[in-house]
Symmetry: C2
Subunit: 478 residues, 2 copies
């Protein structure tokens, strides 16, 4: 009964993927809506995933020499306007502060939608000599973009993210950092989130407002739609020129430095849900599971059961795992369904008979496997299982992505594929934006990226038939 | 020469404490000013201190069952207005967002100055049954208060903080949590920041807008002024009533729950500076020093010197210390002054002669002691020294505070003490706000708290001579 009630509450993903997503987000207790449209509450189960993403990504940043800083959340209007493309890209979607206390401000300020302009203003004060370079700074904060349509984690008016902003003496060094951070994101997605990604460069049409080049990692969701999961921008010297940042180089001449920025957001949680989730709810990769193992006592009133559960917990915590005992007064069946909904990677079931027989049941969330394990072997079994689940989840996600990645050599194949399928379609492109525009208009798909790993699928552009220059991933995007 | 240049750049604290503070904040590279008045940049050296505060405090929170969440930064005007005292307290100093994108908002929103109202709105959705209680949530975020006068760390228009918000079935449980968190803050200040604090309750005049009771920890700065360093509020059921939060208790009746909130801010960094700093700059307690040991190579071009420095660093990092080698092209003297300015607890000096003799020089930042240490003994020496410095710094701060804490039995003593001294004055009070107002008006000092550890200094109120009810700490406050 209890199990049914939980499971019935979710729409199946085959029936309505968007509704399934919303159901999981709510039923797994990740978020709550608020009185401010498009802003949400990260509840403990949702925020704890972000904390695990944050701590592990931050450690990887610091290993490459990144230092964290914190800049103000407000940008005066005149500062936002200093770089032309940038202000055009962001001004339509910022929230404006016009009053401080009871008095109108002399100059209105927006809440940062991103902080390039603030970092430029800061670097202008900080950078004078080649000795001041490079600066490799990052901040963890929230930003605001006044979106019309919002969805939890994927698009909200306020969201949490990290934004790295670096400044270098040479273009080459900036380019190297841009690609280094994109690779870091890609490795993070694969190793921590168990999400395989395609790495590549955005077309000029899709690049960041004010960037020289934007690199992206693109992941494929269960429904075949693409999710841009992290971006890294090389700004060249455009921002530095607009803000008048200069430094005296070793040769004693005045030069303009080069900048980058790179970011990932709480959207990554949306990716985890949509890549790994199933019709029983969330499925969390162990590396970002706030609870990796839940112990559900069976007949918990019976003597010794809770003690044994606590003993197992203590031993596993000692091995470095995140473990909870669920001793609430709900039925075991209810608990099973609830912890499945919340995506906890491993469940241990233990009751009086198990204790007598010196064993317990271990169930995997990712593939539903249940095995009996001797209590003596339990610690070792879990130590093997956790990395195995992490690995298998990545492998399955990769296989699914491969099965949803298609090749189109010409327009007929391209049209036919998108008419029937949702996924990545690899096709050649002449690099003319007119073709990109036409494809978007006709097929309602966008260029996701020009992957680093280029393939020669055909000699001609899938759209116009002229000589092809780049292989592009196309898809419908979130 | 180089040393002199660095040192000359700071005003001495005896000459002008406020200027000394500003100099240290700038020269130790903690912050930078920005184009938005009253908002500052936390530079790497400043933000890293906050990260150490955050991670260590967060671990202590979690050990008491606190869970982290994240609520929106915007509060609709109607929500802010729901609790009468609260809106009166905060409305004059909030920043208002009036436009989203290009369109005016239907209802203006303020950027959170604190999040009681948002948590109440959230809890109203979440709390229905005794099973939903307690909720013990916290968030790390930035808040905005449109202050007129601002000073780095101490009072800025945007600042970083944590705010805990809890909700309980009974008043007693709420009170217990309020005091528990105040004690946690006090222990944190003493054990991590090496700052002794007085724990007590605020008078009604000084309590938080909308609170039933406010508890505080008060620290004494080098100049004898008090700094409120953390507060914990018991709201009773006032907010819950204003927001209509109710729950069905075990006895099946509808009840109103009880709430608390508690917070500390980046102001703690200001406290560290003003409690421990000296005329050579910042002095960091090892527990919050981003770099605990800096190794300065002498004649670093000489063969083997940098290798030896790196070897020492690796060995100390392996012991769990935060260590850097300064191999920049500045002179050793310049480096000494710079690392003193930045407050690094321990400096190791090592040159070719030292290496030959199998020793190095170890200098303490806190008391200036320099000793020769055999390289074989170095790891052990540092392992003893780091906790010893931490302990000594607390001890010295405690002694200084004691020497700046006075007792006044009557008005004459009270007046005479504040005429000559700046510090805490302990004096008796009748609990009538008229006396508190009069003292503030006449002496320009405020009640800091009614300490938990009460003493019977006299029988009568220091102001009016009527029977005394409470011993109060009075002082000039930041």
């Amino acid at each position: 009964m209890a199990d049914k009630k939980m499971v019935e509450a979710i729409t199946s993903m085959e029936e309505d993927f968007a509704q399934w997503y919303t159901d999981v987000v709510k039923k797994a207790d990740l978020i709550d809506y608020t009185s401010v449209k498009g802003c949400m509450v990260f509840k403990p189960a949702g925020y704890a995933i972000w904390e695990l993403i944050q701590s592990q990504m931050d450690a990887r940043f610091k290993a490459t020499g990144v230092e964290n800083v914190y800049l103000p959340m407000f940008i005066p209007e005149s500062l936002l306007q200093k770089e032309k493309d940038h202000v055009e890209g962001f001004a339509p979607e910022v929230a404006w502060v016009t009053h401080g206390g009871l008095a109108p401000l002399q100059e209105k300020m927006c809440v940062r939608p991103t902080s390039e302009t603030l970092f430029c203003d800061f670097y202008k004060n900080e950078v004078h000599s080649y000795r001041d370079l490079p600066k490799v700074y990052n901040q963890w904060c929230s930003v605001v973009r006044w979106e019309k349509e919002t969805r939890p984690f994927l698009r909200s008016r306020e969201f949490l993210w990290q934004e790295g902003h670096t400044i270098h003496a040479t273009f080459e060094e900036a380019e190297e950092r841009t690609v280094q951070m994109l690779n870091l994101y890609a490795d993070f997605c694969e190793e921590i989130l168990a999400i395989p990604v395609v790495k590549g460069r955005k077309t000029d049409k899709e690049k960041f407002a004010g960037a020289y080049a934007t690199y992206t990692i693109e992941a494929l969701m269960h429904d075949g739609k693409a999710l841009q999961s992290g971006t890294s921008h090389n700004f060249g010297d455009g921002f530095a020129k607009a803000f008048g940042i200069q430094f005296t180089d070793k040769d004693n001449t005045l030069k303009t430095p080069f900048q980058t920025s790179w970011g990932t957001t709480t959207r990554l949680i949306g990716a985890v849900i949509m890549v790994h989730g199933d019709n029983s709810g969330l499925v969390l990769p162990p590396m970002v599971a706030p609870t990796q193992v839940v112990i559900v006592p069976i007949r918990q009133q019976a003597e010794g059961v809770l003690d044994k559960a606590e003993e197992i917990k203590a031993s596993l915590i000692n091995k470095g795992f995140r473990v909870k005992v669920d001793d609430s007064d709900k039925s075991p069946g209810w608990k099973f369904a609830e912890h499945e909904m919340r995506g906890i990677p491993v469940r241990i079931e233990i009751g009086p008979k198990d204790i007598e027989a010196g064993k317990c049941v271990v169930a995997r969330r990712d593939n539903g496997e249940k095995v009996e394990v001797s209590l003596d072997e339990l610690d070792n079994k879990i130590s093997e299982l956790i990395p195995a689940i992490q690995k298998d989840m990545l492998e399955r996600a990769r296989e699914r992505r491969e099965s949803q990645t298609y090749v189109a050599k010409n327009w007929e194949e391209f049209e036919a594929t998108f008419a029937e399928k949702t996924g990545f379609v690899k096709a050649m492109w002449c690099e003319d934006q007119a073709c990109e525009d036409k494809i978007k208009e006709k097929m309602a798909v966008t260029s996701r990226c020009m992957p680093f790993e280029q393939e020669q699928i055909a000699d001609t552009c899938v759209c116009c038939g002229r000589p092809a220059k780049k292989m592009v991933y196309w898809g419908k995007a979130y």
